[in-house]
Amino acid sequence: MATKPGTLRRKAAYSLKTKRAAQLLFFRRHWEPGVKGWELRRRIGSDYPRVISLLNDDLDRLGLMVKTVFEEEANPPENPTLDQLDKARFYVALKETQSAGEQKLVGWRIDDLAGLAVSLGYIISQGGKASRKDVEDVLREKLPGWRIDLNLNRYLRAGYLVEDENGQLFLGWRTRAEVDQRKFVDLLLRASESKPQRK
């Protein structure tokens, strides 16, 4: 059965929109990566949620995904409205997680990454907020003193952490975009000192 010309035109239009969405999401255009929903609406059209869903299907085959971070971080909506999507930020992220050896830690040294994990784990356990001094104390147990300040500043610069004027540390936009907080804490609590042997 031949495809109707209208359907072909629609397919071509969506293919073009998906390409444009991919370029917007992959290439960094501002200081912070990712694109806001309203920006996608302006550049792609009001049907951008559908375009993003199509792009997500394409990315899935490559082990990537479009990650949506809503403003209401603590309580992300299950069926977001267009207004909530407009205010959300869209990123492309790795879908599958890999072992430390496989992904070569995306350019991080293992102790820097562990420092980040410790900082995030501690802040999450304290309800999303902890004093810089307390985080430094936990880090000091396993990292040399001169590296603690350097590392914390690096996490702050990268957007994993945010510090207020009272020296309180909070989770930053990058943590919200990249880290599955619930899974991380659960894995941490279950973790044994030695790596489990894979069959």
Binding site: F26, F27, R28, P33, G34, L64, M65, K67, A74, Y91, V92, A93, L94, K95, T97, Q98, S99, A100, Q103, L105, V106, I110, D111, L113, A114, G115, L116, A117, V118, L120, G121, Y122, I124, S125, Q126, G127, V138, E141, K142, L143, R174, A177, E178, V179, D180, Q181, R182, K183, F184, V185, D186, L187, L188, L189, A191, E193, S194, K195
Partner: protein, 270 residues
């Protein structure tokens, strides 16, 4: 008398103690359920009849306020623990301290989805950058010091200031008054169409008149009447300035676009 004084002193000490306890819970982020709010309130209630001095009453109010803060913290504490993300901080901290750093990094990578972001130079961005570079003035020109010429100090005249644009030929109030008088003459104490009043031969003058008219209305020299159904706006002058102190005010935007002005001119010519 001495007993009452002693009672007052004791009460003050109790209030200060309550304030201090609540404050330390607030500042140190301790478990807010460490204090029994009912006990604290009963202490405040017990000593309240003794207070007559404003200082004592203020202390009493402060203690109550601090208790209210602790109650708020208790509510937040329960909310936080009710979320599915809550795990005992002690257990998490213990794990973070006991696990080797390699293992922590491994665990983290299992919950980590790093963002994909690319930075790439395109022909378009290269062109734009080159254009910018070509148009950029060299540093020695940008940083060149201006030669300052010494000039004699002399008083300046009003005409000179007007020429330099520092002073206007008329002050703003004078301009407003002139326009108000004009409105009174044209309207003859009746309302006239807004565009017929602000409209002028040039677009610039029309905008200037609209700007000044908005002040006439705001300051109570004239009133604006809007007929939304007919889409008509009228302006009516007052004989004397009307005080708007007790009148609720609101903003009403009117578009004075070039197209609107052209339409008004055409309709007038017809």
């Amino acid at each position: 008398m001495a007993a009452a004084k002693k009672q007052g002193l004791l009460g003050r000490e109790e209030l200060l103690r309550i304030i201090e306890t609540c404050q330390s819970i607030e500042n140190k982020g301790l478990n807010p359920f460490l204090v029994n709010v009912d006990d604290l309130v009963s202490v405040i209630r017990q000593y309240f009849p003794n207070w007559s001095d404003p200082d004592e009453l203020c202390l009493d109010a402060e203690a109550l306020n601090k208790i209210a803060t602790v109650i708020k913290m208790q509510s937040e504490w329960i909310k936080q623990r009710a979320t599915s993300l809550y795990r005992d901080p002690f257990l998490v901290e213990e794990k973070l301290r006991s696990l080797p750093i390699e293992r922590i990094a491994e665990v983290f990578t299992e919950a980590w989805h790093p963002l994909v972001e690319l930075e790439q130079v395109t022909m378009g961005s290269l062109e734009a950058a080159l254009r910018y570079w070509t148009e950029l003035t060299p540093l020695d020109e940008r940083w060149r010091r201006e030669n300052i010429q010494l000039a004699d100090i002399s008083p300046t005249s009003r005409e000179e200031l007007i020429k330099q644009g520092i002073l206007l030929t008329e002050t703003f109030t004078e301009e407003l008054e002139k326009l108000w008088n004009e409105l009174k003459i044209i309207a003859e104490n009746k309302k006239i169409r807004y565009w017929d009043f602000i409209g002028a031969e040039t677009y610039n003058e029309t905008v200037r008149r609209a700007y000044l008219t908005s002040f006439l209305i705001t300051y109570g020299y004239a009133a604006l009447e809007v007929n939304p159904l007919e889409e008509e706006i009228f302006v009516q002058p007052f004989k004397n300035q009307v005080s708007k102190e007790n009148t609720p005010t609101f903003s009403f935007p009117i578009s004075i676009s070039f197209e609107e002005w052209s339409r008004w001119r055409q309709s007038r010519e017809r």
